[in-house]
């Protein structure tokens, strides 16, 4: 009897209950258990190819000095590692051939001397190298005076994404007063903050289903140019070009605003459709309640 009543209740309130049933299962999402991943993903036929890197195998092994073991750990945590830049991209050598891994035949460069570090990193980071060599820091380094090279501020293996916080009292006062560094930091601050705000807003836009490819590239380009410029350590230069960067950021900002405007229109249009269908449904339902002659 109870069952019958429940059954009838379900049928009677069918619409309500199945709207609930509609939405409930569809909120399902899933994670990814590691063992499943191991069983199904890290095989040769899975997309991600994990290649054997001979450098890592040796340097991470127990036979190595602890300092060398630390290097591989430090690199694993780095932004380079996340972008698949590994040992041979900077140091040369052959990551697939154990015998010739550190041979000059395969272009192995070893550890650069302090003075040569800028060119070492500048193999890839060309724009920054150019600006650095023109800067006070660069000239001092080449003249043999006490000066920072890339590694002093950015680290050697555990390199993270650059941020304005690298300019710190602790780091810069190694050679001179913090006053000069502070002036630089102030000059950079506004643009840097704006860039990270725009980054977040672009991320949010992506969540709404709009992929801002062109704006993302433009933002990256502006940020890269801005940070490259910093390496001249010339606060006046940075200040004089701030307007130029600001206008680029303004353009990106405007695009984002336009997109949000479009999204609001979309919400209104689909709400209109929803109301239209709901009203039609109600009307037909009412029509069933009246008798036709």
């Amino acid at each position: 009897m109870v069952g019958e009543v429940i059954m009838r209740g379900i049928m009677r309130y069918g619409i309500l209950s199945w709207i609930l049933l509609f939405l409930l299962p569809s909120l399902g999402t899933a994670g990814y258990k590691k063992d499943f991943e191991d069983a199904f993903l890290t095989k040769p036929w899975a997309g991600e190819q994990i290649e054997e890197n001979v450098c890592i195998s040796c340097h991470a092994s127990q036979t190595m000095k602890p300092e060398f073991q630390e290097i591989t750990e430090a690199w694993q945590a780095s932004w380079h590692a996340q972008n698949r830049i590994s040992c041979e991209h900077c140091h040369g050598g052959d990551p697939r051939d154990a015998a010739l891994a550190m041979s000059p035949q395969r272009g192995f460069l070893g550890t650069p001397k302090d003075k040569d570090v800028p060119e070492f990193c500048g193999k890839c980071h060309i724009g920054i190298l150019t600006n650095f060599l023109e800067s006070g820091h660069g000239k001092a380094l080449k003249a043999g005076e006490k000066a920072p090279n890339c590694v002093v501020c950015h680290g050697s293996h555990n390199i993270q994404k650059a941020s304005i916080d690298i300019i710190s009292e602790q780091l810069c006062t190694k050679c001179h007063s913090y006053e000069r560094a502070k002036i630089m930091k102030v000059a950079l601050f506004v643009i840097e903050t704006r860039i990270s705000q725009l980054e977040q807003r672009l991320q949010k836009l992506k969540r709404e289903g709009i992929y801002p490819g062109a704006d993302e590239k433009s933002l990256f380009s502006t940020q890269a140019e801005f940070r490259t410029l910093f390496h001249t350590v010339d606060a006046n230069l940075v200040r004089s070009r701030t307007d130029e960067f600001t206008s680029k950021l303004d353009q990106i900002d405007k695009n984002i605003q336009d997109t949000y405007h479009k999204l609001r229109f979309r919400k209104n249009l689909s709400a209109f459709f929803m109301m239209a269908f709901a009203c039609m449904g109600v009307i037909i339902f009412l029509l069933t309640k009246t008798k036709d002659e």
């Binding site: 059954m7 049933l21 399902g28 036929w45």
Partner: protein, 363 residues
């Protein structure tokens, strides 16, 4: 004017007779309820998918270099492209839900029993086809989610000994998901599945019409006396006419379907689009959380739980087989599920288990 056209057609194809028998004189049993319209809603859902799919086909490009961009163009550049894309994406999930609900209600009302076994079999096959539609369509936008969810799903057959690898290779067209897979899934999605689906749908609807609508067993003595040893189409001379009563029910359920669809499009547009669904596929980067679509979460979670992968897959296949063949396996003549507490209990707990596995698979 309208009567003139009707007469013209009537002389040629006997339109009036068709209209008379199938609409005006067609009678539904007295105790049908709103859930009887779910099959019709499934047809409407399919038609919506077909229409919006064809519309999307106009701008979509099925190659990894262009797929994501073309979908983005549909969403941002083409006027009102977003309407059709959202309808298609939301509709695919709703359609699977409707098909599942239809199946559950048919089961609970015992409408799979003799003489309707074949209708049930056709229905389960249709559900499977719908899920394959969902699977193949999932890859097409070529997002991180598409790529990796497809990698996982096409890897599942490898749990089979001997033939597993080959099956996976055939599905993927190679060792990993690539442009071959995309072409393959695209061909499947737009040219192989639709005619198959229409064929099965036609057969299913033919059976429904030929055998006659089944009355619910609740509150009334079962009209169909068993056993049936010869064909007899079920009619209800004292039932109520299909038109306008039941037709109206179907119509407002259709409106309800679209209301739900547009509710989701308006207020929950990202419901089916987690973060990984918004960035282009990167074959070298597995995202932290790869989720198959919700309708595959329960089988997926089950597979994760059972330590032996072969057993895991076999179990699922056996369950599906039992489901397909249930009308034949169910030997009890009692149609009223309220009088069958064991079946009711087992079925409802299976559904509960499915939902629990789905929810568990979320994390």
């Amino acid at each position: 004017m309208l009567t003139k056209i009707k007469n013209w057609l009537d002389v040629r194809i006997g339109l009036n007779t068709i209209f008379q028998t199938h609409v005006l004189d067609y009678r539904m049993p007295k105790n049908t309820n709103i859930l009887y319209t779910l099959g019709f809603i499934a047809v409407i859902a399919y038609a919506t998918q077909a229409f919006t799919g064809i519309i999307l086909l106009i701008y979509y490009i099925p190659h990894p270099d262009h797929a994501f961009r073309s979908v983005q163009d549909i969403m941002t550049q083409v006027p009102y492209g977003w309407v059709f894309r959202q309808m298609h994406a939301v509709g695919s999930n709703l359609m699977i839900m409707v098909a599942m609900l239809h199946m559950v209600t048919v089961f609970l009302m015992g409408n799979y029993k003799r003489p309707r076994e074949l209708t049930w079999v056709g229905g389960v096959l249709l559900l499977i086809l719908t899920i394959v539609f969902g699977l193949s369509g999932y890859l097409l936008p070529w997002t991180q989610l598409s790529y990796w969810a497809t990698t996982v799903v096409t890897s599942m057959p490898t749990a089979f000994p001997v033939i597993g690898e080959t099956v996976s290779q055939i599905l993927r067209g190679g060792d990993h998901v690539s442009e071959t897979t995309l072409s393959r899934f695209f061909a499947l999605h737009i040219s192989i599945l639709p005619p198959l689906y229409l064929l099965f749908m036609g057969i299913h609807l033919f059976f429904v019409n030929r055998i006659g609508i089944s009355a619910t067993p609740f509150g009334k003595a079962d009209e169909e006396k068993r056993p049936l040893t010869e064909y007899k189409r079920k009619t209800y001379p004292d039932g109520y006419p299909y038109y306008p009563r039941f037709f109206q029910k179907q119509m407002y359920m259709m409106m309800a379907y679209f209301t739900v669809m547009f509710f989701i499009i308006t207020f929950l547009p990202t419901l089916y689009f987690p973060d990984e669904a918004n960035v282009p596929a990167d074959p070298f980067n597995t995202p932290q959380e790869v989720r198959p679509a919700w309708y595959l979460l329960a089988p997926y979670q089950l597979l994760k739980l059972i330590p032996n992968k072969f057993f895991g897959i076999m179990l699922q296949l056996i369950l599906v087989l039992i489901f397909i063949l249930w009308p034949v396996l169910d030997t009890q003549q009692e149609k009223n599920v309220l009088k069958r507490p064991v079946l009711r209990g087992v079925f409802l707990s299976l559904i509960a288990l499915w939902v629990i596995l789905l929810w568990w698979g979320r994390s």
